[in-house]
Symmetry: C2
Subunit: 249 residues, 2 copies
DNA sequence: TATACTATATCTTATATAAGAATATAAGAC
DNA sequence: GTCTTATATTCTTATATAAGATATAGTATA
């Protein structure tokens, strides 16, 4: 079929979107809705091309956009797979702690508390949810070797992670893989605001440092495929032993 | 010409690189060497295809990689242009200051000092240069409205920016566009390490805050097309009024 | 018979090319 | 000046072929 159909009219001229983008959107929506789950293999390019009634190259280009957004991973000769937020991946993308001027570090969980409460007005606004939203609040301390590294306070709407509190065992090391496995929520983007503050008594106790010591305070909103906010997080990082590392391009 | 030639041997099998990547590398090298300058338009896809003896589609894919690396910008119907590091672009990519939880801010220069000196051993190592490297050291303070926002200390090897000190007028608002215009050096990537520290007397004076106040200290290496280090920079940011913002994906 | 190796078939994504459409700009007609 | 046309550019789509990965069947060997 030639790209420009003979039936072009003004009305569909207005909504002229390239085929590959339409296909890409449809695929993204399917994945968001759990049609294909984490780690699952998508049908091959030719099958998808058949389903959408386009050529393999067009499906290919659509899949390329999903790949660059981190939604799928592709391997020549193997197939196209829904990205699994493994611990590794999750840490690599969303946990930026590093040796000063050097390699990134991977901390271990040390302790955690979880409770259910109502979100404040401000939190509701940040989450983009209605009034009276209930959230889980998780406070977790992490260690690197012998040292306390961070104290994180996470806020997750209950309707996103309904069974979170009934979890009997400890929370998994990384939450985003858990969100994905349990609730089909795929964290793809995080927006962070970093400040230097003095450690409060609570933070100092958690990080085993003197109150008043400067620490990094990182405020984050985490977003899914459709850019919905799925988590609020405020973390304090010990900054004398570790740095926050990021690459700008 | 079909992709796999009948003359394939073991030796050229080993160096099997897709055409579009070879073409991309050649184009990147040309731009790095100043064959096409900032803002200049490249020949169109068909002309380049002719020059490299490949099809338009292959050139197109190569240009796509350069575009995603930020080396060129393309506009349908207009052409492909070497990216100009405008002030806007430079600030947007490489200056991450923002209102807490909100919009990015664009500060103005307030004062600056420049001198020439020998790099220390450690600096040489970070720059990846030989012994006895001479550098320019620039110290600059920036303001947002009435408030001091940052104090930056930049280190640039003299051979990268030979005429920097002879500059009569004030330094331009943003340095990277200047590097590109004057020396053909295109900063594409910056690696940053962020720490929370207490303001020293010098920093406190520059930022007009009390000594001991926590400030953000950002240590940066800036890299060009070929990933050479072209600048070292240590910046202190006032953190009570501003935050460091970054998007992770 | 069981096991290890090897070729082969088949499934997958990747690469290269070609043709036409969409977009921007300049030149020409009125 | 304003509209139309021409021209130059990138963008979209389709097609054919290559290349990578994996399972399977066959074969030799112990």
């Amino acid at each position: 079929m030639p790209p420009g159909r003979a039936t072009d009219t003004v009305s569909d001229r207005l909504e002229a979107t390239p085929l590959y983008r339409k296909v890409g959107e449809l695929l993204a929506t399917r994945i968001d809705e759990g049609f294909w789950q984490a780690g699952e293999m998508l049908p091959n390019e030719f099958v998808l091309a058949d389903q959408f009634n386009v050529s393999q190259g067009t499906v290919r280009k659509a899949l390329g956009t999903l790949e660059s957004r981190g939604i799928v991973e592709r391997r020549q000769g193997r197939g196209t797979f829904v990205t699994t937020n493994t611990d590794e991946r999750s840490f690599y993308h969303f946990f930026r702690l590093a040796e000063p001027g050097g390699e990134r570090v991977k901390p271990d969980p040390h302790s955690e508390k979880i409770k259910r409460r109502k979100a404040t007005k401000h939190e509701q606004q940040q989450l983009g949810t209605a009034d009276n939203t209930e959230v889980f609040e998780i406070v977790r301390v992490r260690v690197v070797g012998e040292h306390r590294a961070s104290r994180e306070t996470m806020l997750i709407p209950c309707d996103i992670a309904p069974t979170l509190q009934s979890l009997k065992s400890k929370l998994p090391n990384s939450l985003y893989p858990y969100y994905q496995q349990q609730f089909g929520t795929m964290v793809l983007r995080a927006e962070e605001y970093i400040a230097a503050v003095t450690a409060s008594k609570i933070v100092a106790a958690a990080l085993q440092i003197e109150p008043g010591t400067p620490v990094l305070e990182v405020t984050r909103t985490a977003h899914d495929i459709k850019d919905r906010v799925v988590e609020l997080r405020v973390s304090q990082f010990r900054s004398d032993l570790f740095n926050y590392n990021v690459t700008l391009r």
